[in-house]
Structure formats: C-alpha cells, structure tokens
C-alpha cells in the first residue's frame, strides 16, 4: 500500500501533473476534520471554509491542535476522520500550499545561503533533472524583494536574525507561488520591530490576493490585524469577526482554568496565568 502510494507520488513528481483548481470551489474547505494521536485527540470535528485572498488568524492555547490543523491541511499528515479540499481536491495533489516551517525545526548551520533556501521553493515546479533557469532566479529575486531581503541573498542562513529567518520562509513560499500559506506561530519569539515587519509583509500578501492561515499567540494582534479569527481548542469554538468570537464564554471555554475574568469599570478584564508550556 505504502509502496503504491510512493510510486504514485513519484510518477506525479516526474510528470509534474497536479490536480486541477475547480473554479466553483473555495481555495480551502475543511469538513468534519478529526485527528487523534496515541496521546489523545488533537482535533475534533473541525469544519470551516475560507475564500481566495482571505487572511484568517487561528488562536487558542498551547496544544490546542493549531499545528496539527495546519499539517493536515498541508497534506503532511493524514486526518483520522473528515476531509480537506483544496480547490475541490485533496491537498496531496497540489503544490500551491506552503507550510512555513517553524524556526525551531530547522538546522541553521546547514551550508546554504538565503537565495538557496528561497530557490528550494521552486523545486516542485522544476521537477527531476531540471536546474533553475534565469526565470526561476527572477522569481526568487522578486520574492526576496517583497520581504525586503535582496541585500541578504548571499548570506549564510545562520547569520540571520529571527525576523529575517521568518521573512526568508515567506519569500520561499512566494517563490513556490503558493496560493495558500500556512504560517505556524510566525511571530513567536520575535521582538516588536520584527513582528511589525512581518505584519507589513502580510499586508502586501493581502494585496497580492494570497490566502493566509496564521496561528498566533497574541489575541490583541489577532483581533487588530485580521478580519476573521478562529478560536480553537481541539474543537472549533468560534469563527468570525474578532469581537464576536473573543467573547468571555468562548475565552473561558478555550483557555479554561488558566483564565480569570475580572469585572472592572471599563468592562471585563481577562487574566491569564499560563504561558508558553511545551506543546
């Protein structure tokens, strides 16, 4: 079974045949998605849709299943139940989805330059035995231009700051010509200045009609910068405008005992006593 699947992948890679984009289907439709590991359920019955060019922020406590959701959408992991449709077909037939690797997952001493990493995004389009051509380098340069990193193209990746590392991955997704970008905690561990720069790039992506799913820790950034927001804690607790989704009941349901709501003169004050425990 695994052998057959691998052979299918190989012929698909060799022929560079991808699944078509059905015009009457949304870029992403998730139906009744569940994912269980041996340690328990990560996602339970998640259903939603997003349209082309939309940017959706996913928030929720650590271990809420955000990374799992992104990996299943990207086709990196298989769901236990339910389906993911990208333009009406399974994600496994598409190379228009970019999963932005978390910075902690990468060996930064790997002997490659920024331009090398961005060029990796082109490998799916290039196919076997084909080397990058002038046109591919132009795409790479343009991608670096968007994230304002042209001057760093020849740098070895260990010499980048955290914010630059993250922007390099966005450039790689642009070089991939991804229509759906999945960004897993791209602001984690970055200073305010670097966070601002990435939010600036997100604005550029919005203008370029790139669809973005982004997981965030900071509810304030999520509600200020995104029109639609999803609150996730294994179940989807709400999706919609930030002020609708982030109501006290939902927040207590999501953050549970770690969240205390204190009534004050200005309204409700939410206090969290948890942070940053490992997923």
């Amino acid at each position: 079974m695994a052998v057959i699947e691998e052979l299918q992948k190989t012929t698909q890679y060799l022929s560079r045949q991808r699944d078509p984009h059905e015009v009457d289907e949304p870029i992403l439709r998730v139906e009744g998605l569940s994912k269980a590991y041996e340690s328990g359920a990560a996602l339970e019955n998640v259903t939603f849709e997003i349209d082309m060019g939309e940017q959706l922020a996913v928030v929720g406590p650590n271990g809420a299943g955000k990374s799992t959701l992104f990996k299943v959408i990207a086709g990196v992991e298989s769901p236990t139940e339910g389906r993911v449709h990208i333009f009406g077909h399974s994600p496994r037939g598409h190379i228009c989805i970019a999963y932005l690797t978390q910075r902690s997952q990468v060996d930064w001493s790997f002997p490659v330059t920024v331009a090398d990493v961005v060029m990796m995004g082109r490998v799916g389009q290039l196919g076997l035995f084909r080397n990058p051509k002038a046109q591919d380098w132009e795409i790479v340069n343009n991608a670096l231009e968007v994230v304002k990193m042209n001057h760093l193209a020849k740098r070895q990746i260990s010499q980048l700051s955290g914010g630059q590392q993250q922007r390099m991955f966005i450039a790689r997704a642009l070089a991939q010509q991804a229509e759906l970008m999945l960004m897993d905690e791209p602001l984690g561990g970055l200073d305010l200045n670097s966070q601002e720069k990435i939010l600036g790039v997100l604005d550029d992506l919005r203008r370029a009609n790139v669809t973005v799913l982004i997981s965030l820790h900071d509810l304030k950034i999520a509600s200020q910068h995104f029109d639609r927001i999803m609150l996730l804690n294994h179940h989807m607790l709400g999706i919609g405008a930030p002020q609708e989704v982030l109501n006290p009941e939902n927040l207590v349901a999501a953050y549970g005992g770690h969240l205390h709501l204190v009534p004050t003169e200005d309204g409700m004050l939410a206090l969290g006593d948890t942070c940053c425990d490992e997923q």
Binding site: A2, E6, K9, T10, Q12, Y13, K71, A74, G75, V76, R92, G93, H94, I95, I97, A98, Y99, T101, Q105, V106, D107, F110, P111, V112, T113, D116, V117, M120, G121, V123, G124, L126, L128, F129, N131, Q156, S158, R172, Q176
Partner: protein, 288 residues
C-alpha cells in the same frame, strides 16, 4: 622527487593510490549528507553490518575476491532495510535499532569467518582494509559503482538538499520523500561496499565523516563543502599511503590518521582565529 616516485614503480602501490583517491572522493561527497543529517552512527553500523555478507561470500567463493563485493552489497541493503523496519514498526528508537542490527550482524560475520582456520589474517583485511591488495578488476568495480554514486548525488542534488534541510517542505512540494530517503541509504551502502578494501569495516566511518566535517568548518555552501571534502579526502589518501610506505604502518590506518590530522589542523586554526577576532573586538571596545 625520487621519494615521491620510488613507491610508484610498484604496480600494487600505483593501484592503491588510484583506489585511495577514488574512494576518498566518493566517500567525501556522500559523507556531506552523512554529516549534515547526523547519520554517522548509521554509517558506522552499516559498515559493520556487511561483515556477514563478506563472510558468506568468502566461504562460498572459497577465497575468491569478486563475489565478496556482491555479497557485501546484498548484506548492506538488507541491513539498511532492517534498521528502517525495526524503528518504523516498534516503539524502539532508531539508534537503538541500529545498535541491535549492527552488533548482531557483526557478531554473525565474525562467527562465520572464524570457522575457517586461517581466519585471523583475512579477518584483519576485512576489518582494517587491504589497499595494497587492490587488483585491476577491483579498480574497475570502484570506478563503475563509485561513478554511479556520484552521478546519483548530482542528479538528485536539489531533491536531496530539500529533503535534508526541510523534510516538511519536501512533503508539501510532493517529492517522493520515502523513495528518496531509501535511495540515499542505498547510496551510502554502495559507497561503503566500494570503499571496503581501502579502510576496512572498522575505520569506514572516518572516511564518510572526517573529510566532510573538515569541509563543513570551512564553507557555507553545500557544493563547495562537497568539493572541499573530496579534495581533502583524495589528498589524505595519497599522503596516508606514502606515510604507510615509508613508516611501514598499516595503510588504512595511515589514511584515516591523515584525515584526522587535517581535521585537527582546520579546527585548531579556526579556534585560534576566532579567539583573535574576539580579542580584537575586546581591544577595540577598551579603546573607546
């Protein structure tokens, strides 16, 4: 000059040099991935795990050399598959699976070879190499299979780079990840079998790891790392063989020791340079 040319009048020495250079280059290029992916223990284990293959070839072929190559190749492929199967199907971690397969196979190899009376001499050749015993037919096998390995590394260059740097990206670009992983393991296995006669089973990992690690210290680009590693390994092969000739020491050990000395030299120079840079920064600051 005569010091350099004198050993070459012996045909076995000339063949040994050609073999050492060729094997050095193949090992170094494949070794770049062994180093970058942290496969040193796997490479060491695989080298040891082919001993039963050699032993069977040795017993069946009645001492003939040619069949050894093919038996070794079969053993290497089976061992790398076995290691993968154990760590995939049980909760045992990969390095433990490697340890189990490696030690068991190695013991089986020693047991088989020890059933032959003259075994200590032959065993020593398998363990530590016999570069001066390389025959023209062995050279041809090295050229063909070493060449195939290098061709495969070049042909799948961008795929192996993506897979090694970011396996999740490889999956989302829909590369045949498992097939490529398997291909890389097979390439390491073939490299080990090709190099067997030069440094032997016990010192093999040095050829895979040491030149590539030396090159890793010197550069920030993968192609440059591969080229530098190949140069370091080829030079070490030549210098090591001359050392072995004039000092009358075991040739495989001399080659590996030369590689180690090159690494130590590069490492030493780098740490001194770094200390100087730090001192300079410190000095600049105290002037202000």
């Amino acid at each position: 000059m005569s010091l350099l040319l004198e050993p070459l009048q012996y045909a076995f020495m000339a063949r040994g040099l050609a073999a050492a250079v060729m094997v050095g280059i193949v090992c170094a290029v494949v070794g770049a991935y062994v180093v970058l992916r942290g496969l040193a223990f796997f490479g060491d284990a695989l080298a040891h795990a082919i001993l039963p293959g050699i032993a069977v070839g040795y017993l069946v072929g009645d001492g003939a050399r040619q069949p050894l190559f093919w038996w070794a190749l079969i053993a290497a492929v089976i061992s790398s598959l076995g290691i993968g199967a154990i760590s995939r199907t049980t909760k045992i971690k990969e390095d433990t699976a490697i340890g189990i397969v490696f030690a068991g196979a190695f013991a089986l190899g020693v047991a088989l070879i020890s059933s032959v009376r003259s075994y200590s001499v032959d065993l020593a050749h398998f363990l530590f190499g016999d570069v001066l015993g390389v025959r023209p037919a062995d050279l041809w096998l090295m050229v063909i299979f070493g060449g195939l390995v290098i061709l495969a590394i070049l042909a799948f260059y961008k795929e192996f780079m993506v897979l090694s740097f970011d396996p999740v990206l490889a999956t989302t670009l829909r590369l045949p990840v498992r097939l490529l992983e398997f291909l890389l393991l097979i390439l390491i296995a073939v490299t080990i079998v090709v190099s067997l006669q030069i440094v032997g089973v016990a010192l093999m990992v040095a050829m895979l790891v040491t030149p590539a690690a030396s090159a890793f210290l010197l550069t920030r680009r993968l192609p440059v790392m591969m080229a530098l590693a190949a140069i370091i390994a080829a030079l070490s092969g030549v210098i090591g063989l001359y050392l072995s000739y004039y000092l009358s020491i075991a040739s495989g050990a001399a080659i590996v020791l030369t590689c180690t000395a090159v690494f130590a030299l590069i490492w030493g120079i780098q740490s001194v340079r770094q200390r100087l840079i730090i001192q300079k920064i410190g000095g600049d600051q105290s002037e202000n």
